[in-house]
């Protein structure tokens, strides 16, 4: 795998950019998904009802 990246880096370094982009995006997606799934039920419900907690129902 290292060889694959080396070839990309040496032959046309710009093609590595989409790979980095994809890795970053995927990383963020995984982190936020884990974070969202681990959010406690009570906190989740409290946050979801925030717009309803004012005078303008």
């Amino acid at each position: 795998m290292s060889e694959m990246f080396k070839r990309v880096v040496h032959e046309d370094w710009t093609t590595i950019v989409p790979m980095i982009a994809f890795a970053l995006m995927f990383g963020v997606f995984v982190v936020t998904t884990i974070r969202a799934l681990r959010l406690g039920k009570s906190e989740r419900e409290r946050l979801a009802t925030l717009p309803l907690n004012d005078s303008d129902r």
Binding site: V9, P18, F22, M25, T32, T33, L37, R38, S55, D56
Partner: protein
């Protein structure tokens, strides 16, 4: 993580600012949509470019066209009015209303709110005056001139300060997801706007954009696409997450999904800009990047749409009676449709057909009319009774607005889809034998006229619906009294916003991430053995991170939880996320050796007169209908390339010195990239391209005389107004500062060259005994002198220069930099009057 309260406070919200923004949104919405309808009719009836005034004024106004009313000048007014005036004001109304309530705090500064509100309206007025006057930067969605841009930046800073100050004063520790979308809007719009509008003024108000050529394309669409993402999408999603639960009186369907929706959208949208430049000379990796990320947008967009629609679960019965729910449900559905279609159009194969045609226009309008227009209407109908403490004046009229608007959108979008697909197919159809194209451009234009008329009708219906909305809101306001909500809120013990920058960035999760990325890079780049060591270190780090999470997991989670209760670190992370996306696309373009970009073809420099002509081309908004980019597609090359030239699609080097670049995004007329030609024998400057000077002269005077069935406006004022020759020295000085390798010339040389070239062209026209403008009866010599000073001659000079280049010989892969200005200057000193294509 709710925070205990110790005391309460009474707060009166600032709803006056909300009312004002709402009023102006409706007002500018009417103006923007009316201008849109006029623009639509101009494409069916050329007389709508000013000739119609003859009928309206019973002959008092006599003109084939009025400069202030042409499509090229009105179309930017329409797009700017709808995006920045209608949607902008609507978005500010929604943000000011919901932020105060979500923060349980009055807006931080009434003064800043006033400056923001009135400043924004002044900017809109300045745009409404300058754009029809032909004062433009010539970059789509970034047309406003530099003094207005400075005002936009300042007012945006005022808005940002007021918003973040309100967050800092808040009496609710958590940041609801709608606020995240607002933060992302403020950060991204600020960054994109500033980068895309960097210009060097030549005087007041003209300027040249700093970015030219490929970077300009990228920056423009990085801005253009993200302007679409961050102005009419992210804030409206925030508004959806606040107002939809309020209207349905139930919480958002899945708060988890809203979190994933936000972060995925923020990370992906910023990467998708290159999908506007597919099949062009843009490097393939960037095209693939744009396509890949556009396709990935399907997931978060549909996640958000489903989250919105499912919030209405259990409230669907209200659809029958409540116009607010109707508008919101249809608006969110249109969001789903538009965000399905967007990635679809980003697939290179689909883009071949859709790009430069009305299919894209249909896509944009399903978003603008369906998503933005209906979300705005839903929000206004919900807000008006609360802001004036009364009932909605007429529910029936609101329902009528909904149905008229819906039919209008559907007619509009269906007409544009069929027009786009039909014209795209016709343009690519080859004649029997397969060596020539079957249809002339103008034939394809005539074929889609029924759809154009249908589009005008659909747009008019939507406008009519919005007029009903304006009347309804006006009557509602008149039936009540302006009302500012007063509420009792619990003031929490302050534990939020206490996170320091050091705490944000220097901690275990961030450290492991940075070290992991660093050692991974070492694995890629280091020589054998050392790379294995780097890989081992990466694996050890991963094991250590997992161990750290198992033993101190609660602390890690607490760090992330606290991040969401601290707006500054949150904003910083959003900024980093957005900046990475932009930097990855643009920085390689800026640092890669220019020689690699030119691919052998290097654009000929414009002579002073041609540069003046180019500025007229930009000022008249010709780029709204004509592209200058022959894509790497067989139908494009067959239609627009020159006989005997191989690979005659547009190469990057051919627009290397264009500030601003004029690749365009829609072909209502044919591409002009190869319009020019070689210098005429015996002339010093004068060129003749695909068509001669007389053809262009007649075409600008009356396009239907040369192209039967053309919908292009006539340009009679070009035959009256003089070219601003005296401004050329300053303009060329600015071009040189931007890196365009003009040889050193003093102002007399510049002006003399311009006059010599204009006289050559004028003599040629006068000798051909072209029709003199109405009211003139001059002899040939006198007429030539008259013409030489007119704008039409400068514009003809520019048209005849388009697509000329010379071949940049490469001496070897490791040789120097031929685009270095000094070396270029030395090279052309002996012959700086340019040579024709010497391929």
């Amino acid at each position: 993580m709710s925070t205990p309260a110790t005391q309460t406070a009474t707060i009166q919200y600032d709803d006056k600012t909300v009312r004002q923004f709402m009023f102006f949104s409706v007002l500018w919405g009417l103006v923007g949509m009316l201008v849109g309808v006029i623009c639509a009719t101009q494409l069916s009836w050329w007389q709508m470019n000013g000739k119609f005034l003859e009928t309206l004024t019973f002959g008092a106004v006599q003109a084939d066209g009025i400069s202030y009313l042409t499509f090229g000048r009105l179309r930017p007014l329409h797009t700017n009015a709808v995006i920045f005036a209608f949607v902008g004001n609507m978005m500010f109304a929604g943000i000011y209303y919901s932020t105060q309530r979500l923060c349980k705090a009055r807006t931080a500064s009434d003064l800043l709110s006033k400056i923001h509100m009135w400043g924004w309206q002044l900017i809109i007025v300045a745009a409404a005056v300058s754009l029809p006057a032909g004062l433009t930067r010539g970059k789509e969605y970034a047309e406003l001139i530099w003094p207005i841009n400075i005002a936009v930046a300042l007012i945006w800073v005022v808005f940002a300060v007021n918003f973040f100050w309100t967050l800092a004063k808040r009496n609710e520790s958590s940041l609801y997801v709608a606020l995240w979308f607002y933060i992302a809007t403020i950060v991204t719009v600020a960054m994109l706007y500033i980068v895309n509008h960097l210009s060097l003024p030549t005087s007041f108000p003209p300027s040249y954009p700093v970015f030219g050529r490929r970077q300009a394309g990228l920056v423009r669409w990085w801005h253009g696409d993200t302007a679409v993402a961050c102005f009419p999408t992210t804030p409206i999603l925030g508004i959806m997450y606040y107002f939809l639960p309020k209207a349905a009186n139930r919480p958002v369907y899945s708060y988890r999904l809203s979190i994933i929706h936000f972060w995925s959208l923020v990370f992906i949208y910023i990467w998708a800009g290159p999908h506007h430049l597919l099949n062009t000379s843009l490097p393939r990796w960037l095209q693939m990047l744009g396509m890949l990320f556009s396709l990935m947008l399907w997931a978060p967009s549909w996640g958000g749409m489903l989250n919105g629609l499912l919030t209405l679960r259990g409230a669907w019965n209200k659809l029958r009676t409540d116009p607010v729910i109707k508008f919101f449900a249809a608006g969110v559905t249109f969001y789903g449709m538009a965000t399905f279609e967007g990635p679809l159009l980003s697939i290179r194969a689909v883009n071949q057909l859709s790009h430069y045609t009305d299919w894209t226009i249909g896509h944009v309008h399903s978003g603008a009319l369906g998503w933005n227009g209906f979300m705005a209407a839903g929000m206004f109908y919900w807000l008006a009774p609360r802001l004036w403490k009364t009932k909605l004046w007429s529910v029936a009229m609101a329902n009528m607005h909904f149905w008229i608007g819906l039919v209008g959108i559907l007619l509009y979008v269906a007409a544009m889809w069929t027009a786009g697909v039909m014209q795209g197919l016709m343009l690519g159809e080859v004649a029997e034998g397969g060596t020539t194209l079957k249809y002339d451009f103008v034939e394809t234009l005539k074929a889609i006229q029924p759809q154009y008329i249908l589009r005008s009708f659909g747009g008019t219906l939507f406008l009519l619906g919005f007029v009903l909305c304006a009347i309804n809101l006006w009557k509602t306001a008149r039936s009540g009294q302006p009302h500012d909500d007063t509420v009792e809120v619990a003031v929490p013990v302050r534990s939020h916003d206490s996170m320091k920058l050091r705490e944000t960035l220097i901690n275990d999760p961030v450290a492991y991430c940075i070290l992991g990325c660093f050692t991974l890079c070492l694995w890629f780049f280091l020589p054998p053995y050392a790379n294995v060591a780097a890989l081992v270190v990466t694996i050890l780090l991963a094991i250590k991170a997992i161990h750290g999470f198992r033993t101190r997991g609660a602390k890690w989670i607490d760090w992330h939880e606290r991040l969401l209760h601290n707006y500054l670190p949150f904003t910083l992370l959003v900024f980093i996320a957005v900046a990475i996306g932009g930097a990855v696309q643009i920085i390689p373009s800026l640092i890669v050796n220019r020689e690699e970009n030119v691919e052998g073809r290097l654009q000929e420099l414009y002579t002073p007169l041609e540069l003046a002509g180019r500025d007229i081309y930009v000022s008249e908004g010709c780029y709204n209908c004509h592209s200058q980019m022959i894509r790497m597609l067989m139908p494009d090359v067959m239609r627009y390339s020159r006989a005997g030239k191989e690979d005659d699609f547009s190469h990057l080097g051919e627009s290397l010195f264009d500030h601003p670049f004029q690749w365009g995004s829609k072909r209502t007329g044919p591409d002009l990239a190869r319009e020019g030609g070689e210098i005429v024998e015996g002339s010093k400057f004068m060129r003749t391209g695909v068509r001669d000077n007389v053809w262009h002269y007649n075409h600008f005077m009356n396009p239907r005389q040369t192209s039967e069935g053309s919908n292009m406006p006539a340009y009679p004022w070009l035959f009256e107004q003089e070219t601003d020759i005296k401004a050329l020295p300053k303009k060329i000085a600015v071009q040189r500062k931007l890196g365009v390798p003009y040889p050193a010339m003093n102002q007399h040389e510049i002006i003399d060259k311009a006059r010599m070239q204009s006289l050559e062209i004028a003599n040629n026209l006068a000798a051909a005994k072209v029709l003199q403008p109405a009211g003139l009866e001059m002899d040939q010599e006198e007429f030539a002198k008259y013409l030489a000073d007119r704008q039409v001659v400068a514009l003809i000079a520019y048209m005849q220069k388009l697509g000329t280049y010379r071949i940049q010989e490469k001496k070897g892969p490791a040789e120097g930099q031929p685009l270095d200005p000094d070396s270029y200057r030395t090279e052309i000193t002996g012959n700086d009057d340019s040579t024709a294509n010497n391929e």
